[in-house]
Amino acid sequence: MGRTLSTKEDAGALFHSLRSAYAATPVNLKIIDLYVGFAIFTALIQVVYMAMVGSFPFNSFLSGVLSCVGTAVLAVCLRIQVNKENKEFKDLPPERAFADFVLCNLVLHLVIMNFLG
């Protein structure tokens, strides 16, 4: 009984510590996290829709899902590069990373728009 309880307590304690640690992250990183969450959510909704109605214009489904996933991936890359605690990208100015992010997004969306049909 004590073990299960401790597991439950452990889970609760873990959750709380995560929450508090997350609160300490800088705001710009939180914005990016929010963006990623938004993108993934949109993708999920599209998958659910496809599951309901069938994959008839499959290219449209793919382009929709891939646009969301692609932009999420790019945002994650941006987060890695902008994070000050990341020693690897110490010398990369965050503006440069942002410019890369914008450019890659524009290219991704061009391709997506072409594939959308």
């Binding site: 705001v27 939180k30 914005i31 929010l34 963006y35 969450g37 938004f38 993108a39 959510f41 949109t42 909704i45 599209q46 829709y49 309901m52 109605v53 069938g54 008839f56 100015p93 965050p94 503006e95 440069r96 942002f98 410019a99 914008v102 524009l106 969306h109 061009l110 728009m113 072409n114 959308l116």
Partner: protein, 692 residues
């Protein structure tokens, strides 16, 4: 002239066996009516004097009355040509020829002028045709005008010049430049030689004339032959321009021969059957459709006829097919080539032989009766020995008076193919179905082959079918027709044909179905029966449907041959096919619109969630540059991104990739520049802040 021709044609009296059948019709009224049609002048006058002459000569020979306006227009053109000083020797020649028939008057002055001009033409002639026209013209004007003094000064010289054009094979060339020789030119040359001899003031060396005789004999070596005995002259077709055709060539040679024979005292020693062959050639043409051929034919036949010594006699037959049913009698006509009267003679039927057999004659030698009203010799009743079929009858002409033997050439025996037809009696026709083993009759029916039949029989594969009938000729003999077939046709249009054999008069066919099962492809069912009996000599050939027979054949085994495919109705195979309507791909099932719209709304939700989250996080625009230049750049940067996204929307809606890329390149360039400026400005600002 007659006496000369006597010498030339006296050899024809030698009776030579004429092997070929001779079925040529002499000139008749159909010729006369065709002549009137062919020789109609164009607007009252002919195109040339040559044609005028041909028309007049043809009408003269055929005995057609000369129309006065035709003569008048002919006289006009003749006097025009004669009076004109620019007429060539050829024009004068044909004008004088036409005048010999039309008999228009030529005044003394004009004729004197003509004579001098023609004499000058003779001296100046270089080719065969020049000599021909000039010498011929002189001969004609000598006959027509009152001038007695028309002579050739150097006749022997002119003779030699013309002879110089001859070749060793009896043909002549047209000129010394042209190496081509032809028989047509030979005929012209002979006429020219004849003219020279008649115009000569002194006797021409006989040796020269003898050499001409040899040329004629050599020319006759090149004569060509048709199977029916017709002989003709033809030249090789080398140059189409010069080629005249067998009719013109043969008639030219004949004219030359006749003219030459008229002037020489010597005997030309030509074989009689050659002359007869030439007559056959011209008669064999029938009624030509071309004016030139017509003239040549009639003129040549007149040459053959006009000799008073040996006129060929022609046997003609109104009909060579006789019907026993109608009791036709065999009629024979005898006339000269131009259809003129002949002296009294008798036609004898020497013999009749069955075609293809070498047995003795079926009839005795007998004379035919002469019917004065129709002018035909008639054999009133066909002998009993002549039954239906084809025969060769042999005839002979017997002249009544011996003195006529010298004048007319009657040839020798003439063989004529005669067909005799009649009604064939078909009797005792019956059809029966027999049992195979015993031969006993299961069902038997009588047939009436002359009328309608609708027999209905049935048989199985163990039985036999027998059809029998008898054929008898009108004279009571047995008859074997060319065709005696029994045809069985199945419902599926598969047909089988069997030949009906005979022994004597009895015709019988037995179909043993046991042996025919495989031939019939094991097809059971209803077969239509059809009998065909036919022959050229049978007036009542028949093709009758007898009826039908139900055949019960066993089942086909695995390996049995299939019946051949029947010809398909061509319209169904080659006609238009059924129209194909295109079936379009059924469109995919789309979800109901409400569901789609609901999900559209649901997709917007995360965006809203993002915006709300941003607000909760407390985003602000404090870092937005305040100084005007960076601010402009910042604004432009955001506007640029917005413009690109708007471009993408347009790309999805309307534009194509190339247009989009073009605009994107343009916008992208701006965006990169502006973005670089603002971001480097921001980087510089934050670096300054860090260091500070």
């Amino acid at each position: 002239m007659a006496r000369r021709l006597a010498g030339f044609l006296v050899l024809l009296l030698v009776v030579s066996i004429c092997e070929a059948a001779f079925l040529f019709q002499p000139i008749s009224d159909s010729h006369r009516s065709t002549a009137l049609e062919l020789f109609t002048p164009d607007h009252g006058s002919f195109k040339s004097l040559e044609e005028t002459y041909e028309a007049l000569r043809t009408f003269q020979i055929l005995g057609i009355e000369k129309k006065p306006d035709l003569t008048a227009t002919a006289c006009r053109s003749i006097s025009e040509t004669v009076g004109s000083s620019s007429s060539t020797a050829k024009d004068l020649f044909y004008a004088l020829k036409a005048n010999s028939i039309a008999e228009c008057k030529i005044d003394k002055k004009a004729s004197k002028g003509i004579i001098s001009r023609l004499k000058a033409a003779v001296s100046g002639a270089s080719s065969l045709l020049d000599f021909y026209y000039s010498v011929g013209g002189l001969v004609l004007i000598k006959d027509q005008s009152s001038e007695a003094d028309v002579h050739l000064a150097d006749a022997e010289g002119v003779f030699r010049s013309v002879k110089a054009f001859s070749q060793s094979d009896g043909r002549w060339r047209y000129s010394s430049n042209n190496p081509e020789s032809s028989a047509f030119a030979a005929g012209i040359a002979l006429e020219t030689h004849a003219g020279i001899v008649s115009l000569a003031s002194s006797e021409i060396d006989q040796s020269l004339i003898s050499t001409l005789k040899n040329d004629i004999i050599k020319l006759f070596d090149s004569i060509e032959k048709y199977d029916d005995g017709a002989l003709y002259f033809d030249d090789k077709l080398v140059d189409g321009h010069e080629y005249q055709g067998p009719v013109s060539t043969t008639s030219s040679v004949l004219r030359g021969l006749t003219a030459f024979a008229a002037v020489t005292a010597e005997n030309l020693n030509l074989p009689g059957d050659k002359i007869l062959g030439l007559a056959k050639f011209f008669l064999g043409i029938g009624v030509p459709g071309d004016a030139k051929d017509f003239f040549n034919q009639i003129d040549s036949l007149a040459c053959l006829e006009s000799n008073r010594v040996s006129i060929p006699l022609i046997l003609s037959f109104p009909s060579t097919v006789l019907s026993l049913t109608r009791k036709d009698s065999l009629k024979v006509g005898v006339s000269t080539v131009l259809g003129s009267e002949v002296p009294s003679l008798t036609v004898k039927l020497v013999g009749a032989f069955s075609s293809g057999s070498k047995d003795a004659s079926l009839v005795e030698s007998q004379e035919l009766n002469f019917d004065k009203t129709s002018g035909l010799h008639i054999l009133n009743d066909l002998p009993k020995s002549i039954d239906v079929g084809s025969y060769t009858f042999v005839f002979e002409i017997v002249l009544h008076e011996p003195k006529h033997e010298e004048v007319y050439f009657k040839g020798s025996q003439t063989k004529v193919p005669i067909s005799v037809t009649g009604l064939i009696k078909i009797e005792n026709s019956e059809i029966a179905v027999l049992d195979s083993d015993l031969g006993s009759i299961e069902s038997q029916k009588k047939l009436d082959l002359a009328g309608k039949n609708a027999i209905s029989l049935s048989a199985n594969h163990l039985q036999k079918l027998r059809l029998s009938f008898q054929l008898t000729t009108p004279r009571g003999r047995s008859f074997k027709p060319h065709q005696a077939f029994l045809k069985l046709r199945h419902e599926s249009k598969v047909e089988h044909i069997f030949v009906v054999g005979n022994s004597g008069k009895q015709f019988e066919i037995v179909l043993n179905f046991l042996g025919l099962v495989e031939k019939f492809f094991y097809l059971s069912g209803k077969y239509d029966m059809e009998l065909t009996v036919g022959d050229a000599a049978m007036e009542n050939s028949l093709l009758v449907a007898i009826g039908h027979i139900e055949l019960d054949l066993p089942e086909a085994p695995e390996k049995a041959p299939r019946p051949p495919p029947q010809p398909v109705d061509p319209y169904s195979r080659y006609g238009p096919k059924a129209e194909i309507t295109h079936i379009f791909r059924a469109p995919e099932k789309r979800p109901p619109q409400e569901l789609s719209l609901a999900f559209l709304g649901l997709t917007i939700l995360p965006l809203l969630g993002f915006l709300i989250g941003l607000l909760r996080l407390g985003v602000n625009l404090k870092n937005f540059p305040t100084k005007p230049l960076p601010a402009t750049f910042a604004v432009l940067f955001h506007v640029g991104i917005g413009a690109v996204l708007l471009l993408y929307v347009f790309f999805w809606v309307k534009l194509d990739l190339f247009q989009t890329l073009k605009i994107l390149g343009f916008l992208g360039g701006i965006l990169v520049f502006v973005g670089h400026r603002i971001l480097s400005h921001l980087a510089a600002a934050s670096a300054k802040l860090k260091s500070a």
